[in-house]
Symmetry: C2
Subunit: 250 residues, 2 copies
């Protein structure tokens, strides 16, 4: 269709990076494009922390569940919700920050619109990227490591760098059938949803089989994986942590 | 730098649309590009509802605070967090959904990565877009209007269409200085943050003055606007609504 849509469709998470650093100028170009993303009433409730200390990056490998790319990528960033600016402005007026769940939600949405624009800009310059949700494994430890001020709370990490190898020829990981995600007028009934999921499971199994060259047993189908993820409490300290940073979840 | 970065930098929210509809093929191209965005462990915790009934779209104009583009744009979508698929899979196993705040957070992040890719794809095809946060003014009413099933909860709306007029020549709304948003190693101290904000206020006032042709008094500076937004509870029923749909905020 066009160059931009081709870029979006060719996205793969990159987890192995070469040693090349990223010129500051490229970081600035990507962040500038990030800042042009939509933001609710211009609140811009986000900040990006670039972790520059090699020892801190090694510590973050462990804190994110052992992901070596957190230390190896050309750059590692932490995308944060940022209510600090708004809090400081209210303090100047001797008023309280009372933005509630709306404030937290806007910070997550704004930060993610910003992050995705930044990612696309990096990818358009030939870099590979990888979001690091594992950063939420132990946010209190991340916070202590990086001396995060009140009002700033990490949402996820972001590795950026020159890919160590060209993208695999293999098909990208399949997504849900479009009909499961794009609905016209009304959402479908439960049985129709489960039918789409069953269809997807078959394609997902084939993908896992292909990816292993047919040698290894196929991993769990998507449905089983989803039951594992959503059927047991994950990262149960998140709410406590975010509240400790002044985010309001109620 | 390149075509994609130019596109990101030229983004403006479009609020006046021509009557042209959007071919279904273009919607599918944009949503496909959206689905290629990163998703945490492939959970894909989102769905997109296209509101097709003209009367429902008129009702949504009122429910979003009187935004006529919700009815006038070529298409109006609602971006939803979607925990329904995961819940139904667990129910098949007689198990409970217990993903907690992590599950809700992932749905907001996944949905927004998806939405922003979709938006960029639409813009690359020449369409204009506008996110509608005002959809959160009264989510219970939106829910009743559109018969939303359990596990599906709206995050924001999205207008897409052919712009009624070429983009204004005026400069785009300024963003915070990059130094306020991109930090190296450590976040700055409070006084440095407020200094950047004061600098931004001056540029923001100049922008408002220019936009009004110097005739109207400048609107409130950014700081005052932020105090208004974050110093009074907004959309206080959000937490109750999301909990009623099965989202877990604790």
């Amino acid at each position: 269709m066009n160059e931009t849509i081709d870029l979006l469709n060719n996205h793969r998470s990159v987890r192995r990076f070469g040693p090349d650093p990223i010129p500051d100028e490229h970081v600035r170009i990507a962040v500038e494009a990030g800042q042009r993303a939509s933001t609710s009433s211009a609140v811009q409730a986000y900040s990006l922390l670039r972790v520059t200390d090699a020892e801190e990056r090694r510590a973050l490998v462990e804190l994110t569940g052992g992901q070596p790319q957190v230390a190896d990528a050309g750059a590692f960033f932490i995308v944060c919700g940022d209510a600090r600016r708004h809090r400081l402005l209210l303090e100047q007026d001797h008023r309280d920050y009372t933005a509630g769940l709306e404030g937290f939600l806007v910070s997550v949405i704004d930060a993610t619109l910003f992050a995705q624009n930044t990612v696309i800009a990096f990818e358009s310059m030939g870099y590979g990227v990888c979001y690091i949700g594992g950063l939420r494994n132990d946010l209190a430890a991340v916070d202590a490591l990086l001396d995060l001020p009140d009002g700033l709370y990490p949402l996820y990490g972001l590795c950026v760098g020159v890919p160590a190898e060209p993208p695999a020829d293999a098909a990208p990981r399949p997504r849900l059938p479009m009909e499961a995600v794009l609905c016209e007028g009304r959402f479908p009934v439960d049985t129709a949803v489960l039918q789409r999921v069953a269809e997807y499971d078959r394609g997902y199994e084939a993908y896992l089989r292909d990816r292993s060259g047919g040698k290894k047993p196929a991993g769990p189908a998507w449905s089983d994986r989803m039951r594992d993820i959503h059927g047991a409490p994950r990262r149960p300290n998140l709410a406590e942590y975010y509240a400790s940073k002044g985010a309001e979840l109620g």
